[in-house]
């Protein structure tokens, strides 16, 4: 029954994505005569709806997980440390440096990677609660990281960041199970807010 519910929400996310795409195509056909704000308004509306549906789905997932962990294997989540463990993966070195600085001072354990293959190797060795990864990288991209994490680490939240944000990419990320999607440029505060939500959903205390 839970599976069906998830599917339903996923389809309605898809529905909204299609509406966004239609809105864009409509604007294009009109020859860009309407102002950008109209398109923006429509897409924002659609995105808000998508995010709402998505957070509903996440809460369902969390409930299920909590129920699962409460019922069957309470001990599995317990080994997580007191501190939230976050992996930051971005081929821009400055992003890693600054996020390390921004998160560490809030008592978060941060590991920074620039090379996605090294990051994947490290994922095999250690457990991370949250992974913040860039979407577009050489060799391995963020979607592949996301796929690896969803298949291997059930209790890890993935937050995707990208400078090349498009509706299609956001859709793919959210449908494939990313916790959230952040477009560059963002402030450390934006990221901390999202990580905070992820931490709460995992049963940690609020950070900061």
């Amino acid at each position: 029954m839970e599976e069906k519910k998830k599917d339903k929400r996923t389809t309605s996310i898809d529905d909204w994505m299609i509406r966004v795409a239609f809105a864009e195509a409509g604007e294009a056909e009109m020859g860009f005569k309407t102002t950008g704000s109209e398109l923006e308004r429509k897409t924002k509306l659609a995105f808000d709806k998508i995010m709402l549906l998505r957070s509903e789905r996440m809460s369902v997932q969390t409930e299920t997980e909590e129920a699962m962990s409460a019922d069957e294997d309470k001990g599995f989540i317990e080994p997580r440390g007191e501190k939230l463990r976050v992996m930051v993966l971005d081929d821009e070195p400055i992003v890693g440096k600054r996020l390390n600085q921004a998160l560490a001072k809030h008592g978060i354990e941060v590991e920074v990677f620039e090379d996605p293959t090294q990051a994947l190797a490290r994922l095999g060795e250690a457990h991370f609660d949250v992974i913040v990864t860039d979407l577009r990288m050489e060799e391995v991209n963020g979607i592949q990281i996301l796929e690896y994490v969803t298949s291997h680490c059930q209790h890890t939240r993935v937050i995707l960041i990208s400078g090349y944000a498009t509706v299609e990419v956001a859709r793919e990320a959210l449908v494939k199970g990313a916790f959230d999607f952040i477009a560059k440029p963002f402030t450390p505060r934006d990221l901390r807010a999202v990580i905070n939500k992820a931490a709460l959903s995992l049963g940690f205390d609020a950070i900061g």
Binding site: F32, G36, V95, V194
Partner: protein
Amino acid sequence: MASRKTEFDGSAMPIAGLGKVDHREEAELKHAHTSFAERIHEAQQAMKARHRISIPRRLGFGFLLWFLFSLGLAVVSITIVSRIRTKVVFMEAAVNYTFEIQQARRFEKNYFLYQTNLTDALDHVHNASAILEAQHDSITAVVGQSGFDTMASHLNRYQELLFRLSNINPIRDAGGLASSGLSAIEAELREHGAEMVAVAENLVAQERASVNAMLLISQRIPIGFLAILILLFLYFARFISTQIIAPLNRMVGYSRRIAQGDFTPITPQKKYYDEFSELSVTMNQMMNQLAFRQELLVRAHKLKAVGTLTAGVAHELNNPINNIILTASMLREDFSELTQEECLELVGDLVGESERAQKIVRNLLDFARESEAELESHSVQDIVEETLRLASNQIKLAEVKVCVEIGENIPAIHGDRGQLQQVFLNLVLNALDAMPDGGQLNLKVMNSEDREFVAVTFEDTGIGIPKQHLRDIFDPFFTTKKAAKGTGLGLSVSLGIVQGHGGDIRVESEGGKGTVFTVLLPVAKVPAEMIGNPLN
């Protein structure tokens, strides 16, 4: 959420920026166009300065000459025929005169033999005298006044002698006196008679000769006429071929040349100005317009390319901006806790990332701004590298791997850097569009086999072009892309630019396997300074 808001903020901005560029570039475009317009203007002036002779006027003049010639011929023929007629009438009279004289002489002889018919002889002499009187003018015309006088005096004398003879009655005055007078008269009569016959026969013979000569002339006139007619036909044929067919062929050549994009103005080929010159002037005006439209088209397409690149640049800019925002935020948050060195490091990052952002924008602005058509020697390699730098964001976005291979000893080519960059960029962007799921783009710069051209090859591993579309792809407005994505002008404009450089674009494609575009550019043979404006 902040992240979502920022995602669409950038969309309106680049378009406003482009509008500004557009205005300034239009002025530059007009300036670039004026030099061409001046060349056209010079050619027009040279053409119009020629003396004006229209084809109908020349044809009219020819026909007038033809008419006058025919008229003259008719007048000559009529005159000759009427003169022959007068001569024939006159000759009849001369024959009659001769006959009368001869009759008179016969009767005179009879008189001396048988003393009869003297009155008949007198009658005939009288007739002859009447004919001589009547034909005075025509005879004078033939033998002159003195000749006529001699004839008249002979006749008068003869008549007088005959009168004297009739006064002497041979029966009455039979005797010595009569016989001696008779013999004297007879001798004189014979002398004058013979003279008269000779003159009359001479006259007839002369007239006959003259009539024969005239007949000969009138016989020869048609032959001469025919000969002149043939000459006229030859002249007319030559006129048509040199004045109508040859210029027509020239015009066909010009149109063909124009269709291939060569807008060199038509210069005067003849010493005078006629309808074909008029046509040339109009064609020059047409070329002026075509060249202007072509430039507008190139410009419009360039702006479209700038628009495409802007999307990539906007995305790529997010990286340095993100770094700046993160660094600046951390600097503000932790300012009091950071050491001076740490602060300096952060500020250094801020400067570095700002410069990176500037660099990303600069290439695009350079491409968008450059507009003055300047023909110079360039290394194809440089232009290719610049193009790849310009499209680097697009290439990254499309997840396409680019391999560049430069042959050895590539000579310089002669052309307009901005325009060639536009051509290469268009081919690169097309290749990226053909590989929506990523792929490989191989770029090769090689010498052609005859070393006359530099060949730049763009080989992609994309979807390819179906065979039935291959011959249409260079047509304006032909596109297989979706409505808002392609204008269908890219390849048409590119081909126009390359042909304007004296080169060509070739294409080979296999559906599903990829496409190879080859741009052939002629090698610069003369140092750049030597090649000026061909008209100057």
